[in-house]
């Protein structure tokens, strides 16, 4: 698996990260060596093996469909980086100039 600039920049977009030039170089090298290590998995024959997704043995633990542990508005806003007492404030989403 070849890790190049194009792949790194695609992953940055998907992961919502913005790396510096130096970080990009480091990551290109790191991802290459990690993926080289991971290549080892291809040696194993997994034909017909079901992927193991859940580790817990029990499925469908149900509960009654009732609201519980609701946060008050004050608590919900408590850790917000920007809020006006009623809402979370975010930077402008719609650019009217376009």
């Amino acid at each position: 698996m070849k890790v190049d600039k194009l792949l790194i920049s695609k992953l940055e977009k998907l992961a919502r990260l913005e790396l510096s030039g130096e970080e990009r170089e480091g990551l290109t090298k790191d991802l290459s060596s990690i993926l080289e290590m991971v290549e080892k998995l291809q040696e194993l024959d997994t034909e017909g093996v079901d992927p193991l997704v859940y580790i817990n043995e029990e499925v469908n633990i149900l509960r009654s469909d009732q609201m519980d542990k609701q946060l008050s508005q004050k608590d919900a806003l408590k850790n917000a980086p920007d809020q006006d007492g009623t809402f979370f404030r975010v930077p402008k989403v719609i650019n009217l100039k376009k």
Binding site: L7, I8, K10, L11, E12, L14, A15, R16, L17, E18, L19, E23, G26, L27, D30, L31, S33, I34, L35, E36, M37, V38, E39, K40, L41, Q42, E43, L44, T46, V49, D50, P51, L52, V53, Y54, I55, N56, E57, E58, I61, R63, K69, L71, D75, A76, K78, N79, A80, P81, D82, F88, V90, P91, K92, V93, N95
Partner: protein, 481 residues
């Protein structure tokens, strides 16, 4: 003040009136102060712990039967566990200043039994690391030798117990993050079965791997702590509804066991020769005591780490997508629009190792690579689980070193991720499969650093594992304090 290694001895002194919760808290606060340079704590709740101690002493004075089972237990919690009204940051800049709105179920249950939480401990950022060096708050140092790492990711908790700054400490274990630092610091580290303890209020890294565990000086304390924390929880549907045995009352052990060790592990090229020799000496001693100890084949060992890093980074990239700077956490001041807010907040807030794992996880989940990497690793995980369960059809326990060597020098591993990841080789199997594991101290290496040995057993057989561990530290390898 004596160096207590069990809650029962503390409670005996509390009953005799020779100590008090206030005296205990003062002692531990003084220990924290003396060991400040180790950087084990992110925050110490000094005034609050003292106040709570006073309340508990008064409560005991007025009615000795009114106190909980953890009366006298002064503990610490890893900085990934929520404690209502207190900060929690996963040792990351992205959560600087964040305050928990509720307590983790495990924490809540310990508080309900009158534990006193003295502080939150340092760790690798989002529990990603084996050295504690990726913390936003700087590295924690090993109390046995401050030029060495404490291990990770729960390094602060391990050192907190090692340096006698609390009686026991909660950590979390995704791939060995309790057992490996326990080995590096010479204390006991227990990781329960997946689903034994609720993960509600634990800041997620790899949700199908994460499990809350405990560091202690004694098996009985680990057993009691687990007994109190474990059990179903309506806020975490992956928690098992299986009944929780009274582990602390089931520590008697008089059986002859069948123990397996993996030839591929004990003869692994990465294993330090002295650690190997100590493990072999242990095997001989167990045999001499009448246990059957046999070498078995396990040819999947070298596939565990590659599969683990594919799966945990995938889960991490998904779990950590919630940190976007909108409702909580760090928000960049440089952003002009919404997309930039996400990108810049995350870029400024996350450290190097976290970004590395998010990028890898994003890759293995991306279109075109999902089947070759993510799905493949899930299939390998099933093979590893099946093979491991087969072992327990014939054996009670698996014996394994807890780490390939002793604690390494500060600053030597972070730049080579593959070398760092491969060092988890002996601990990851338990998380891949969902079984419990425990790291027990096995004396010292000639370099003066602690060595750990690990035992695993089948899932939800913690009672059996703890009873054997108690026997082991009493009869086979007594703990040097």
């Amino acid at each position: 003040m004596p160096r207590y290694s069990t809650l029962s001895s503390i409670q005996a002194d509390l009953r005799a009136g020779t100590t008090s919760c206030v005296a205990l808290v003062d002692h531990y606060l003084q220990q924290i102060e003396e060991h400040q340079q180790l950087n084990a704590y992110v925050e110490v709740f000094a005034a609050e712990a003292r106040a709570k101690a006073k309340v508990l002493d008064d409560k005991y004075q007025s009615d000795a039967s009114s106190v909980g089972r953890l009366f006298g237990a002064v503990i610490s919690i890893k900085d990934v566990l929520c404690y209502e009204g207190h900060g929690v940051t996963a040792a990351s800049k992205i959560l600087e200043g964040f305050e928990s709105l509720f307590s983790a179920t495990a924490v809540e249950r310990l508080l309900a039994e009158d534990a006193i939480i003295i502080g939150r401990t340092n760790c690798d950022e989002f529990a990603m690391g084996s050295t504690n060096e990726s913390s936003y708050y700087g590295v924690t140092k090993n109390a046995a030798d401050p030029s060495k790492v404490p291990g990770g990711s729960s390094g602060g908790s391990a050192v907190a117990v090692q340096a006698d700054t609390c009686l026991f400490s909660l950590g979390t274990d995704t791939g060995g993050s309790v057992r490996q630092p326990a080995a590096f610091c010479g204390v006991i580290g227990l990781k329960p079965s997946y689903g034994r303890v609720s993960r509600y209020g634990l800041l997620a890294y790899g949700s199908s791997f994460d499990q809350i565990g405990v560091f202690s000086h004694s098996v009985e304390d680990a057993a009691l702590c687990l007994e109190i924390m474990a059990g179903s929880d309506e806020f975490d549907a992956s928690t098992s509804t299986k009944e929780v045995p009274a582990y602390s009352q089931m520590l008697q052990f008089d059986k002859k066991s069948k123990i397996a060790y993996l030839g591929t592990a004990l003869h692994h090229p990465s294993l330090d020769p002295e650690v190997k020799a100590q493990c072999q000496a242990c095997i001989e001693k167990l045999k001499a005591e009448g246990h059957e100890v046999e070498e078995i084949d396990f040819d999947l060992l070298d596939y565990i780490i590659p599969a683990y890093y594919v799966l945990t980074t995938a889960e991490a990239s998904s779990n950590l997508s919630r940190y976007d700077g909108i409702r909580y956490g760090h928000r960049s001041q440089q952003a002009e629009n919404l997309l930039e807010t996400y990108q810049k907040s995350r870029t400024e807030g996350f450290g190097k190792e976290v970004k590395r794992r998010i990028m890898l996880g994003t890759f293995v989940l991306s279109a075109g690579y999902y089947d070759a990497y993510y799905s493949k690793a899930q299939k390998v995980r099933r093979l590893i689980q099946q093979k491991t369960f087969e072992i327990f059809e014939s054996y009670d326990y698996i014996l394994m070193p807890a780490a390939p060597g002793t604690a390494w020098d500060l600053g030597t591993q972070m730049d080579d991720p593959v070398a760092m990841y491969l060092a988890d080789i002996f601990t990851v199997q338990a998380n891949m499969v969902g079984i419990p594991g425990i790291s027990l101290p096995l004396g010292k290496h000639s370099n003066g650093l602690p060595i750990g040995i690990q035992f695993m057993t089948n899932r939800f057989k913690e009672a059996k594992l703890l009873a054997f561990s108690n026997y082991f530290v009493n009869k086979i390898a007594p703990i040097e304090e």
